[in-house]
Symmetry: C2
Subunit: 187 residues, 2 copies
DNA sequence: ACGTAAATATGATCGTCATCATGTAAAAGT
DNA sequence: ACTTTTACATGATGACGATCATATTTACGT
C-alpha cells in the first residue's frame, strides 16, 4: 500500500537509523537487506523503492550517520574519557561509526569511501579546534595522532578476549593521549 | 590422490600462507574456501581433510600468521617508520596481520579471538621492551598507546580515499608517536 | 609386492542472500 | 469522485559458497 510523502520520508529515515545500528553492530556483510527492512518495520520488497542496491544503502547510511555524529566538538578531555570507556567499547551499535566501520570501508564502493573520508576530515578538524595546543602545527599533529590512537584503541579493545587486557588498552591509551596533549600544550 | 606426509604438511602450510594473504587483503568474509584452495594449488574438496570448517581455518591462520609476525622487536623508530609508511598501507596482503584483521575479529569464533588476544599481548610486550623509556610504568603506557595509534593510523589511512589526507594521517601519527616517545623518555 | 588407509579431486546439496516481478491499496492530482 | 501514480507487500529467481558424498590414486606398513 502507498503511504504519504512524509510517511515515506520517515520510513527512509528509520531505515537509515536501524541500518546504521545494525552495520555498526555486525558489520556490513553480516547484515542482510531483509534484516534491515524488518528492523525498520517493513518487508524486503519495498527496499528498492528507497535505494538502488545494498551498496547504495551503505553509502547513504554512512553519510547519514557521519553527519549526525559530530562528537569531539566541546571539551576534548571529556570526549576522550567517554570514547575510551568500557561503556563505549561495549556499545558498538550505538557508538562511534568510525570505530565501528572504518576498517570495513576498504572493501566498499567509491561512494562509501568518499563519505567516510569526508567524515574523517571533519572529525580531525573538529578535534583540532577542541584541543588546547596554541601552535597550529602542533594542534594538527595532536589531532591526527590522538584520533588514530582513540580509534585504534577501541578497535583493539573490542577484539581482545581478555577483559583485563581490554580495559588496560583503553585506560593506558587514554592516559597516553592525555599526556601527549598536556605535554605539547606545555611546550 | 594421496600424497606423502611431508607433502601434506607442505600443503597445509601453503594453505595457511595463502589464506593469511587473502584474508589480510580482502577480509575473512570475502574469501571463499575454494579461493584459498585454488590459490594453494589445490581444489576445494581436499579442504576438509585439513580443517574442520572455515572458522577453523581462520583460527589456525591467525595463530600461524601472528606467530610468524614478530615485528617491533629491534629498533622501535625504524619499525615505526616502516609501519606508518605508504608502502605498508598499500600492502595489506603482506602487511601487519593486526592492522589487516583486528577489526574483523569481533565477529569471529572464541578460538580466533583468543589467538588474536595472545598476538596482541606479545606484540605490546615486545614494543615495551624496544622502547627507550626507563620507568616501567611509562614504558607500558607508551607501548600500549603507540601500538593503538599505529594500528589506528594504518586502518584510517587505508580507508581514506584522498591520497593527500591518507599520507598525512600516516606522517602526522608517526611524528606524534615519535614525539610522545621522546618526551616521556626525557621526563 | 600387496592391501589398506589416507589425501585430493569431482560432483552434489542446501541455505542464504541480493535483486527482480507482480499485485494491491491508498495518496495525490485533476 | 476518478484516475493515476506509487509505496509497499508477497512471491519468484539466480548466484554464490560452505559443506558433504563419492571416486581415484598413491603412500605406507606389512
Amino acid at each position: 500500500m502507498k503511504v504519504s510523502r512524509e510517511q515515506m520520508a520517515e520510513n527512509r529515515n528509520r531505515i537509515l537509523d536501524v541500518a546504521s545500528r545494525l552495520f555498526r553492530d555486525k558489520g556490513f556483510d553480516a547484515v542482510s537487506v531483509a534484516e534491515v527492512m524488518k528492523a525498520a518495520g517493513l518487508t524486503h520488497g519495498g527496499f528498492y523503492g528507497h535505494f538502488s542496491s545494498k551498496d547504495d544503502l551503505i553509502a547513504n547510511t554512512l553519510a547519514h550517520v557521519l553527519a549526525a555524529d559530530a562528537g569531539g566538538g566541546g571539551d576534548f578531555r571529556a570526549y576522550l574519557d567517554a570514547y575510551l570507556s568500557p561503556r563505549h567499547r561495549d556499545n558498538a551499535a550505538g557508538g562511534c561509526p568510525t570505530a565501528g566501520l572504518v576498517a570495513d570501508i576498504r572493501y566498499q564502493t567509491p561512494a562509501a569511501r568518499s563519505a567516510m573520508t569526508e567524515g574523517l576530515r571533519s572529525q580531525i578538524d573538529r578535534i583540532g579546534k577542541a584541543i588546547p595546543e596554541v601552535n597550529a602545527v602542533d594542534r594538527r599533529r595532536a589531532a591526527v595522532g590522538s584520533w588514530a590512537a582513540m580509534v585504534g584503541a577501541v578497535i583493539l579493545a573490542r577484539a581482545i578476549d581478555d577483559p583485563t587486557l581490554s580495559d588496560e588498552v583503553l585506560e593506558q591509551t587514554r592516559a597516553w593521549v592525555d599526556a601527549g596533549i598536556s605535554q605539547v600544550s606545555a611546550s
